[in-house]
Symmetry: C2
Subunit: 321 residues, 2 copies
């Protein structure tokens, strides 16, 4: 199948490209290297089924031109701002990179008759919640521009899908870790520890806890939903147990680095305005399809800490700098 | 209080201005006459508490400048595309006039320390539903660009409010009728009947039915929620019984015009792609505050039909043309 993967140089999208090419699909990847890097797909540059065009996916005319030439049946629209903190003071980051790219992709799909879209959404569309959140839970009251832009994108995806007979798979992700991660708590901690291995600053009281998924488990979950669920609108929350706290992640990194006890300063404040510090997904809907991650949340974070410390080459250029 | 009303030349906003000035507030109205008309506020032009600036509210810099000079405490952000059909083929209409104006207003509020926003939302954010929809109902799967843009606007309102300590009142409207309506089923039918009083074309089978509210009842509901509910996020669905069908509205207009039986052609299709033809609100949350419309849905549509036929001067220039 001819598939466009936007944001193909990024963390999760590059693993999706690996999967799709392995399955024999033809992939056109679009990216402007805002967060991603060419290293993430350089192993495919000699593959005749792989094509890359450098572009800002919020530029409607360029996206449309690429679709016109490639004629995709399906789009994995992974281009987005994935750094929640970066958008917390300036709405333009999420407006352009998450929402603007989505509108451009939808217009190109409409004009060029692409009939399937896979979209990565997030727990952040719900805002502060109590209890486990399911796909049908309401209200949706995001408290970050990141969550608002993902919700806005979902809204237009549903509307375009209804009018243009497009099929939609939306996966609402938990926190994602593993190879090629470009930013986030692991990389922040390692940067701080490199600068000063005797002390570190941690948001809130460090007990804020979230579900984590290892990126390859996430890709398997996406492919499972895409292949096994064939309604017009297929929405899945992807959870993982147990919740892992920021303190536990720090402890894993300290252990792998052999650093023992260090001085920890707790800020008492969220890492960024609008961070939802704790949430739980009800993911029974995708579990019915057979979703069963190889690594639970704690194993995923421990594995990531181990790999980041002992095998940094498998990770991201940003961190190696 | 100093209050900005965006879209102040429009149908509902102009009634809000009447109310606010009557209560002694200072009002700055912004509008570019996309759907509204100067006739809707000309009776206030000599009122020292009323000021009007003609502008496109999606232009961030101009909105910011107006806020900087006027220093509002509160914004009734009523500027929006209110013609669902108009945006059904071109997403840009709702993207610019509903979503773009909201982002511009939020940025201006953030920069100029305005701490209250009242926003008109819609049943269309829910998409196709079963049973009565409450404020907390999910999922939110709009099927029109109109609904998607309102949902997108809600998302960014919540996020800006969280980070900038803004208080929010969101009212999800049913269909609205009454004086100064600029478009919709009543005006369409009257235009068709003027052109040919012997026959008319009706979408679907004409039995599609929605709740209607008389615009002055709606303004009372908004003011009730704004004054009596003082949480940070105040969200209300505004319903009205009974559901009134398109056939009933046509019958009311024919009766007022003394036309008797005419030939009716049913299209079998929605009036526009993405129209949600039937829905019901659970409005118990606002009823607890004392919401009790003077006119039920049927009385509201009958009264509108009567007034449009017998007192068109109270209505809109668009129709009088």
């Amino acid at each position: 199948m001819k598939i466009v993967v936007t944001g193909g140089a990024g963390f999760i999208a590059s693993h999706i490209i690996d999967y799709l090419l392995r399955e024999g699909h033809q992939v056109l990847s679009l990216d402007n290297f805002t967060l991603g890097t060419r290293d993430h797909f350089k192993h495919h540059l000699n593959n005749p089924n792989f094509k890359f065009i450098e572009m800002d996916v919020s530029q409607e005319e360029r996206v449309n031109q690429a679709f016109k030439e490639f004629k995709p049946e399906c789009v994995f629209h992974m281009a987005a701002n994935s750094d929640i903190g970066a958008g917390s003071f300036d709405a333009k980051v999420d407006l352009k990179n998450t929402f603007g790219t989505t509108v451009a992709v939808l217009e190109a799909m409409k004009k060029n008759d692409a009939k399937q879209i896979i979209f990565p959404s997030t727990s952040a569309i719900y805002g502060q919640t109590e209890g486990a959140i399911a796909e049908n839970s309401g209200p949706l009251m995001p408290q970050s521009n990141y969550g608002a832009a993902k919700l806005a994108a979902e809204g237009f995806i549903f509307a375009f899908a209804h009018v243009n007979n497009i099929r939609v798979w939306i996966f609402r992700f938990p926190n994602v870790c593993g190879p090629r991660g470009t930013h986030g708590v692991f990389i922040n901690f390692l940067r701080f520890l490199k600068a000063d291995p005797t002390q570190i600053t941690v948001a809130q009281d460090g007990k804020q806890a979230k579900p984590y998924i290892y990126v390859l488990d996430l890709v398997d979950a996406i492919m499972l939903g895409w292949q096994k669920s064939q309604n017009q609108y297929n929405v899945f929350n992807i959870g993982n147990a147990p919740l892992v706290s920021v303190n536990e992640i720090l402890a894993s990194l300290l252990k792998e680095k052999g650093l023992g006890e260090i001085k920890i300063h707790y800020t008492g404040n969220p890492a960024w305005p609008g961070d939802v510090v704790t949430y739980t997904f009800d993911d029974s809907k995708i579990r019915v399809l057979g979703y069963k991650p190889k690594f639970n949340s704690k194993e995923a974070t421990d594995k990531t800490a181990y790999e980041l410390v002992h095998n940094p080459d498998a990770y991201i250029a940003v961190y190696r700098d």
